[in-house]
């Protein structure tokens, strides 16, 4: 097995009394698109910013392209590209100027025109940054993350706050990075994003990695069971719901009952029978194919979406 291009070992970061990251470990191989999936405040951004050399760590060990982000900060910055969260550019800077300015900081540079074309910003190249839409700003951020043809690319919540259509545009761009065999570390709190774009995903919650694997492996871990979500007029005990036909797991999440079933049709029939017998009523019923959300619910008892 080759040496991983990015290594994180027992990483810990505290802000005052709060432990934002509590012993996170994972490796990323060259050419892999790796996702950190978790709710807001899980410690994703902190982890990424430590890897980028923007923050110091309290304990643990990290290495990116064989470099220590703190000690070899200058050399590291030549090798990485990043689209940060909570960042911007001067409003009166033109798109082409921004790309050229940032390209000028690096030893290795990509052609500004070609990048703009590729990110669909060609007709916006003379616009001021302040005039761009949210999606255009995000595409520019991604283009700027690639100006130095980086060996590792960090994309921190690249689609947060964008509407679904713009989000899909960004997905196309990231999929292209995957086809180019770029190494990408992506953070997200969107299940769909992690499933669609990532080769491997680490699910992170409260500063701890709670599951790690390919999306397929992770889903298989929850038994490949279908999720059935029901709302009932009267409360039921999880214990009785677990005894229904085909049900492997049942729990209450935010007032709804989430059942995981190996045989959904049989489960539904037996659920309805059970409710009728107990004088209870079904208010709503939803069926979802297995997703990473199920893994998260199983591990934490909470939903990933906030």
């Amino acid at each position: 097995m080759t040496n991983p291009i990015l290594q994180v070992e027992k990483l810990v970061k505290r802000y005052g009394d709060v432990e934002a990251v509590r012993g996170v470990s994972f490796n990323i191989e060259e050419g892999e698109v790796f996702g950190l999936l978790g709710p807001n405040g899980a410690g994703k951004t902190t982890t990424v910013e430590i890897l980028e050399g923007l923050r110091t760590l309290d304990s643990g060990r990290v290495s990116v392209c064989g470099l220590d982000p703190q000690r070899d900060s200058e050399a590291l910055k030549q090798e990485i590209g990043a689209a940060l969260q909570a960042t911007s550019l001067p409003d009166k800077l033109r798109v082409i100027e921004a790309i050229r300015l940032f390209a000028s900081f690096y030893k290795r540079q990509r052609d500004a025109q070609e990048l703009l074309k590729r990110f669909g910003l060609d007709d916006k190249k003379n616009s001021f940054y302040g005039q761009l839409s949210g999606g255009q700003k995000q595409r520019l951020a991604l283009a700027m993350a690639l100006v130095n043809d980086p060996r590792v690319c960090f994309l921190d919540e690249p689609t947060a706050g964008l509407d679904p259509q713009v989000r899909r545009e960004i997905y196309d761009v990231i999929e292209e990075l995957r086809r180019d065999k770029k190494t990408v570390l992506l953070t997200t709190h969107y299940i769909e994003e992690a499933e669609r774009l990532c080769d491997r995903v680490a699910i992170i919650d409260h500063g701890v990695v709670i599951a790690l694997g390919t999306p397929r492996e992770l889903k298989a871990r929850s038994g490949g069971a279908t999720r059935i979500e029901v709302r009932l007029s009267k409360p039921e005990s999880n214990g009785t719901l677990k005894t229904l036909e085909g049900v492997v797991d049942a729990r209450e999440v935010d007032g709804a009952f989430v059942l995981h079933s190996q045989r959904p049709p049989q489960t539904i029939v037996s659920l309805v029978k059970h409710l009728e017998a107990g004088g209870n009523e079904l208010i709503s019923l939803e069926i979802a194919t297995p997703s990473l959300e199920d893994v998260f619910i199983e591990m934490t008892g909470r939903r990933l979406r906030d």
Binding site: K77, L84, T87
Partner: protein, 315 residues
């Protein structure tokens, strides 16, 4: 070096696209210039030449407003973070701010000098080398002060409050707006602890008495030393992240920037050199016009030479 040049270019470009810049760096200094030369000095060349040094100093000192505000804005908006993740150093960013500000401010000073000479017929602009050195050090040192202000304030609001708090004494107690000789004795004494007073006096002596750089060595050295420590400190205290707060030790370090002028103030309060010079210049322009012209032309090169005791306050 390459980063520094690219960043300087960006800052100059952005300044030209910024309406606020036009107001503060171009409209305001010229308005101030014409107010003093045209209204207060009533276009009398001799009086314009008396006010020219203070007006130039006023313009030069304004540097710190723009630099502190821009740096804080860049930090608050997360623009600095973007540079941080690229191979850009804090000193690249800070030095480019200083140089861009210099490139933008120097032409306004030159224009004011040309206006004074050709519109208001000021007979002589003084020693050009002294003018150049003092203006340059003034722009750089007060620019660095702006960078320090940006490092010790967390929000734009705090920055603007601190700017005001510094600006008012700097312009009113240094001779930049009211001639130093006009001010009560205690205020004059206090003024000797302000860097602004030395810039004003240096420039005024340069214009009025054509003072040489050698005779202005106190002003030149003290302001240069101050520029060095403020710039060094701004690099030490530089923060990329909006949520990074000012460390407590920073406030102590900032107090250290006052030390050179505290020491110099003590020395100057004992020797009365600056007050005496300001007084003589003041008397020269308040005396009868017929005698003033030859006097201002006739006192070249050795302004520090005459040791007349300082005259009484004209008020």
């Amino acid at each position: 070096m390459k980063n520094f040049a690219a960043l300087t270019r960006m800052r100059v470009q952005l300044a030209f696209r910024n309406k606020m810049f036009f107001f503060f760096v171009i409209v305001m200094p010229f308005a101030f210039f014409f107010l003093y030369a045209g209204v207060f000095a009533k276009s009398v060349p001799r009086i314009v030449s008396f006010y020219l040094g203070p007006v130039l100093a006023f313009n030069v000192m304004g540097s710190f407003w723009g630099l502190s505000a821009t740096l804080v804005l860049f930090r608050e908006q997360g623009i600095l973070r973007r540079f941080h993740v690229a191979p850009v150093s804090a000193s690249d960013l800070l030095a480019s701010s200083i140089v861009a500000n210099y490139v933008l401010t120097l032409p306004t000073v030159v224009l004011e000098l040309l206006f004074a000479r050709f519109i208001f017929h000021v007979p002589g602009l003084g020693n050009p080398i002294s003018l150049f050195i003092l203006t340059s050090i003034g722009i750089v040192s007060f620019g660095s002060l702006g960078l320090v202000i940006a490092s010790v304030t967390n929000t734009m609001q705090e920055t603007q409050v601190l700017n005001q708090l510094l600006w008012l004494p700097l312009i009113f107690l240094s001779g930049a707006t009211f001639p130093l000789a006009y001010l009560p004795r205690t205020v004059q004494r206090f003024g000797l602890f302000l860097p602004a007073t030395y810039l004003v006096n240096g420039l005024q002596q340069t214009v009025v008495n054509s003072a040489t750089p050698w005779s202005r060595y106190v002003e030149i050295l003290s302001l240069s030393f101050w520029a060095l420590i403020t710039f060094f400190l701004s690099a030490q205290l530089f923060r990329w992240e909006p949520e990074a707060k000012v460390p407590r030790r920073a406030k102590l370090l900032v107090a250290a920037t006052a030390i050179p002028f505290l020491l110099l103030g003590v020395v100057e309060n004992m020797s009365d050199r600056v007050l005496h010079e300001a007084q003589t210049a003041f008397e020269m322009f308040t005396s009868a016009p017929s005698s003033a012209r030859p006097a201002s032309l006739g006192v070249p090169r050795k302004p520090a030479g005459d040791k007349n005791p300082p005259g009484g306050n004209p008020n």
